[in-house]
């Protein structure tokens, strides 16, 4: 019988995450840096019919941030909210106990929103560096020019035939979140496309 | 003037000055016994068989543009009879039989090439579906063979057998299937019908249908009113628009299908091969171009041009199937308007209006049907009754619930 210590969550991409520098080596360092955020607590929040405002208000009182506008995300102290569809949001935190986020969202949004735990369903990849934007344009039709996709913009799109949720977390850094089942294949594509810029896995 | 190597040589001696026009360009008469709307493959073959099989020559084919400007002039030329359902198989097999004697029949070389049609399968369920189809063909006495992976490899060694995302497990082959020089089909039928007295009138768009007390009287056209006792609609992609003129609403959607041709190269692929793990089918024209296509763009359209996403999908599938094709270049792409029906099968029927007959719903399988479609439509018009071969293609089958749905996609035309 296994011991509870082996409860550590296994990371879907682990066999691919070999730290190091790959692809073209250039003087000004690797064009992109890639890393995976794990473990995360993620939940989908969907407002109940006609409860959008109530839900937003509740979020504000409990977490200090209201629901973001379509195509946007907001950072709170313990929580990030990302728009991901009509009246639909990802809530994301780090370092919470298993199921904890899901549970308190349920209790605080009781009746005003439906909550589903997605912590294990999605893999979140961080892409940063001066070539990060160039890399993303190889996959998605979203226009990532800062004028069109500014800081804290969020979009659901497709990359390499795979559904990806993209947010801009800094001038030259993005977060890509996708279904875990595609993560290995997506990683292979992403790293191949990153080769010409040179990339570092951290 | 008959076409043959002898007339060819004798004309060569007279510097080809003696060749006559392949068909006349008559002005429309005021009235015809039968008017056919649509100078495509089906309209022209209908006229041809009305004259040939039923002795009805007081016929006009009205074409809004130039002869063969529609789908008959832009398809990927595949002919086959590898169908599964009782309503379909006998009809398409009859069509294949007619193809086999067509050139001698209408004295025009349409380059009917029975080079074999091979459909690949990649999964067990696909294999079982092909076995079912192959047996349906054989039960009707038609050739259909289920090939193993190794048999496929022998036929077409350069497919991706080793590195594929969806490994090839085998295929279903119809050896009698193949290709036909599409334009020549239109020209051969036009010339054949013309020589039997049919008036083929181009640049003549039908703009209205005159109906009096439940009976067809004639059509309004860009060349004036033309009376007729019987009116056959064979407008393919434009069927809904034409039928609307008679107050009919059809179970059809018009969709654009793209096709492509590569630069002309030396013999590269000898058969017609269809991918089973994506949308791609290919054959090589006698001129050397790889002629290929895939799936509909997917949205209703009357524009004869598609967009990039489907082109990319088709070409991705092409390279997945034949890695060596990678450095060959695409020369041209185009589109045509499909009359997609609600069950993926055609309609050849009478209507509730006396003297009005319907031929439509060909989806992207109507080229192979050209001879049988014209043959059955001619029968239906001449006898005012359906032939056994098109008995299942009735318009009311949807109301009754007797769909002929080979793909099992239901009332979603762009999935057929």
């Amino acid at each position: 019988m296994l011991s509870p210590t082996s409860l550590d969550r296994s990371l879907p991409l682990k066999r691919h995450l070999k730290q190091g520098r790959y692809g073209t080596v250039s003087a000004d360092g690797p064009g992109v840096r890639l890393s995976v955020r794990h473990p995360l607590a993620i939940a989908t929040i969907i407002a109940r019919k006609g409860q959008e405002d109530k839900m937003s208000a509740l979020l504000e009182t409990h977490y200090g941030i209201a629901a973001p506008q379509p195509g946007r995300m907001v950072k709170g102290k313990e929580l990030v909210l990302q728009w991901c569809g009509a009246d639909q949001y990802f809530a994301i935190t780090e370092g919470r106990g298993e199921g904890a986020l899901y549970e308190d969202l349920r209790s605080c949004l009781q009746g005003s929103a439906s909550v589903s735990d997605q912590s294990h369903g999605r893999v979140v990849i961080e892409v940063s560096g001066h070539k990060a934007r160039a890399l993303l344009t190889k996959g998605s039709a979203v226009d990532f020019h800062p004028r069109e996709f500014p800081l804290e913009a969020a979009a659901m799109t497709q990359m390499a035939h795979i559904g990806v949720h993209v947010t801009r977390t800094a001038e030259d850094s993005f977060e890509l979140s996708l279904f875990r089942g595609f993560s290995e294949h997506f990683w292979e594509w992403l790293t191949e496309q990153a080769q010409e810029f040179g990339y570092e896995v951290v | 003037m008959r076409y043959s190597i002898f007339t060819l040589i004798s004309n060569a001696l007279s510097d080809h000055k003696k060749w006559q026009p392949a068909w006349r360009e008559p002005e429309p008469r005021r009235e015809y016994e039968v008017v056919i709307v649509g100078g495509g493959g089906h309209g022209l073959s209908t006229a041809y068989y009305l004259a040939k099989e039923h002795g009805i020559t007081d016929v006009a084919v009205l074409e809004k543009s130039w002869i063969g400007s529609g789908n008959v002039g832009r398809n990927t030329t595949i002919i086959r009879s590898n169908y599964m359902l009782p309503g379909n198989e006998p009809f398409y097999e009859w069509s294949l039989k007619l193809w086999e004697g067509l050139e001698q029949d209408f004295n025009f070389n349409a380059m009917v090439s029975q080079r074999g049609v091979l459909n690949l399968y990649h999964t067990d369920p696909q294999r079982d579906a092909f076995a079912r189809r192959g047996n349906a063909m054989r039960i009707h006495g038609v050739d259909g063979e289920l090939l193993s992976r190794e048999q496929v490899r022998e036929m077409v060694p350069f497919l991706d057998f080793d590195n594929a995302r969806f490994p090839i497990r085998g295929g279903i082959l119809q050896r009698r299937g193949g290709t036909v020089r599409h334009d020549a089909v239109a020209w051969g039928y036009a010339r054949g019908a013309d020589r039997r007295g049919v008036d083929i009138i181009h640049n003549c768009e039908v703009t209205g249908i005159r109906i009096e007390d439940g009976r067809v009287r004639g059509v309004e056209t860009s060349k004036g009113y033309i009376g007729c006792k019987k009116l056959g609609l064979a407008a393919a992609g434009n069927s809904s628009e034409v039928a609307r003129m008679a107050g009919l609403k059809l179970p059809l959607e018009s969709h654009v299908l793209q096709a492509f041709v590569s630069e002309s190269i030396k013999p590269f692929i000898d058969h017609v091969v269809t991918f089973g793990a994506g949308h791609f089918y290919v054959s090589q024209s006698d001129k050397g171009g790889l002629v290929f296509g895939g799936d509909l763009d997917g949205y209703n359209s009357y524009a004869r041009r598609g967009n990039l996403p489907m082109m990319e999908h088709v070409v991705e599938a092409g390279v997945a199937m034949i890695p060596g094709i990678s450095r060959v270049r695409l020369l041209r792409s185009w589109g045509g308007i499909m009359d997609m029906s609600m069950d993926g099968s055609p309609i050849i029927d009478k209507t509730h209006i006396d003297g009005l007959y319907l031929n439509c719903g060909w989806c992207y399988g109507g080229f192979k049907a050209t001879p049988a479609s014209g043959w059955c439509f001619a029968h239906t018009i001449a006898r005012n009754e359906l032939h056994k071969l098109n008995a299942a293609y009735r318009l009311d089958r949807f109301r009754r619930g007797a769909m002929i749905d080979e793909k099992g996609q239901g009332a979603t035309p762009n999935l057929h």
């Binding site: 979009a155 659901m156 | 628009e241 949205y299 359209s301």
Partner: protein, 92 residues
């Protein structure tokens, strides 16, 4: 083609899945007498050459169904609304 999703903004058509004509309305009655209505709804299409209302699904994006007004000859899209609002507009 580019389609303006009411939520995501303009995106190329490869992010969308097409369903078809949005004009037919699902009948409310289940009485045998309503059979013709149902038949029309499921099977008959105007299939116009020109402008039509049609359902698109932003399946590669926010997963909203939208109704676009598009010309089938030119492929020009003149307007889009969320299917929700389109349905409410019909009193659903």
């Amino acid at each position: 083609m580019r389609i303006r999703c009411p939520y995501c903004g303009e995106r190329p058509s490869e992010e969308f899945t097409y369903l078809g004509d949005a004009a037919p309305e699902r009948p409310l009655s289940n009485e045998p007498s309503s059979m013709d209505e149902w038949f029309d709804y499921v099977y008959l299409r105007d299939n116009p050459k020109g402008v039509m209302q049609e359902y698109w699904h932003h399946s590669g994006g926010c997963r909203s169904w939208i109704v676009a007004v598009r010309d089938t000859e030119t492929h020009e899209i003149s307007s889009t609304v969320a299917a929700r609002d389109f349905a409410k507009g019909r009193g659903r």
